[in-house]
Symmetry: C2
DNA sequence: CTCAATTTGTTCGTATGTATG
DNA sequence: ACATACATACGAACAAATTGA
């Protein structure tokens, strides 16, 4: 094993998976474009300093994913017409945010083992007396992209229980009479899918996710809406105008 | 192997790594707090439906990381005084952004194999005649947290070459005479570390990253600054005020 | 048409790692 | 700690398809 392979060896993850990820990335960023021939096995062996069979195994993965096609005697080619990734743009403005999620149809899930109250951090206002918990999966094009766990102040919920049970909460909240939204903020970090999220989003355990925490505070300083959202990491994008 | 273990089996990643990641997460989110005893091997075996040795191997990893301490006859305990994660807040406002990165001292790196021009997308304005490329690593508390690859319009660069070669470009740009910034925007996606980024950031290959693309456009509609920034995924946080 | 060069595909033997009971 | 089964990784050799001389 060469010195380069040692860099890969620092990770306990199987080599062929690491190589597969590297190659997959090259295709994604356009280093190898659709229809184009990728490096030969010989070249890849040399580059990664690994056995032919190992590199082969990596390429086999990509072939099964439909990302490349191998042809004996000719080479391996990036599949033509790979559909562009469908990015989900996470809006950073209240009105835009409401607009984009307004028509989403969540699939609600029984949430037995949820904490009765949300955990608040500094700046999140103060707790309401009681909360209702709603767990749902959001989908687009039949593909689940986010798991949403919402704590909604009970008195707000009671104003339109059946609507909150069938629609996305945020847009409903913004149009509800008797509730004045004073502040709303969101924090975002990169995480990894736990068991539950992996199941619901149909992704691999521990694959990267974006974890958002969205808090809406009313004019009394009460956190009426606290959502913890787990997005698939491979489908979210954030666009920010700095000026 | 039980049904639960089958969920883990869907991933080609070794089981003990998956379990380790799951347990690590539990400690990070505070499910098990410092000083506290975590579940016994028996319980974990039962929960994950795996062989004792497999769970043990996962815990051994955490012990080597210093996250837990195992004591025969007593149990396994979360290490006291694990330092809180130092989050790096990615600002979403020009003035805040400039302020936070102003005093950073980048370590510049030779970049031979960089494209002469940045790839522009719609909304990025038009290309300048020529660009200078700068590659650097940003650190905080001696820990590298981002790799920055900047394309700077040559005529802008020439106005203060030695400053651009020793300081972070954005704040310099914002105070430079003769350059009027008309627009600036940033997009952010979740990616995974390639070879180069993994080396420079001292993280594992393919571990999650935040990939930012920051474009600054002058009053002529020219993209004078195009940066591609790769952050360690485990250290960035984004705070957005929605209202 | 044949031959050689190129390139993917397959097989074997061995060693080590992962996971079980 | 042990016996067992399967996955990962290696190197090397060989087979089969494609291409161009």
């Amino acid at each position: 094993m060469g010195p380069l392979a040692r860099t890969y060896k620092r990770s306990p993850i199987p080599l062929y998976l690491q190589v597969a990820a590297t190659l997959r990335r090259r295709i994604e960023v356009g280093h190898w474009k659709p229809g184009q021939k990728i490096s030969t096995l010989e070249e890849l062996e040399a580059e990664f300093q690994m056995a032919r069979v190992t590199v082969r195994q990596a390429i086999e993965m990509l072939e099964n994913e439909g990302l490349v096609q191998c042809r004996q005697g000719k080479g391996t080619f990036v599949t033509r017409g790979i559909k562009d990734k469908r990015w989900l743009n996470l809006e950073t403005e209240w009105s835009e945010l409401v607009k984009t999620i307004e028509d989403n149809v969540p699939r609600f899930i029984d949430s037995a083992d949820a904490p009765r109250q949300p955990r608040l951090k500094t700046g999140d206002g103060r707790l309401a007396e009681e909360y209702v918990h709603l767990l749902s999966v959001q989908s687009r094009h039949k593909e689940p992209y986010a798991v949403v766990s919402v704590h909604l102040a009970r008195d707000v919920y009671e104003r339109a229980p059946d609507v909150f049970r069938s629609r996305v909460a945020l847009p409903v909240l913004s149009t509800l009479d008797g509730v004045t939204i004073a502040r709303a903020h969101q924090t975002l970090v990169i995480g990894s899918a736990d068991m539950e999220a992996a199941e619901l989003l149909n992704i691999m355990l521990n694959s990267p996710t974006a974890e958002a925490r969205c808090v809406v505070i009313d004019d009394q300083g009460v956190a009426v809406y606290v959502a913890e959202i787990i997005y698939r990491g491979d489908s979210v994008k954030l666009h920010i105008d700095l000026l």
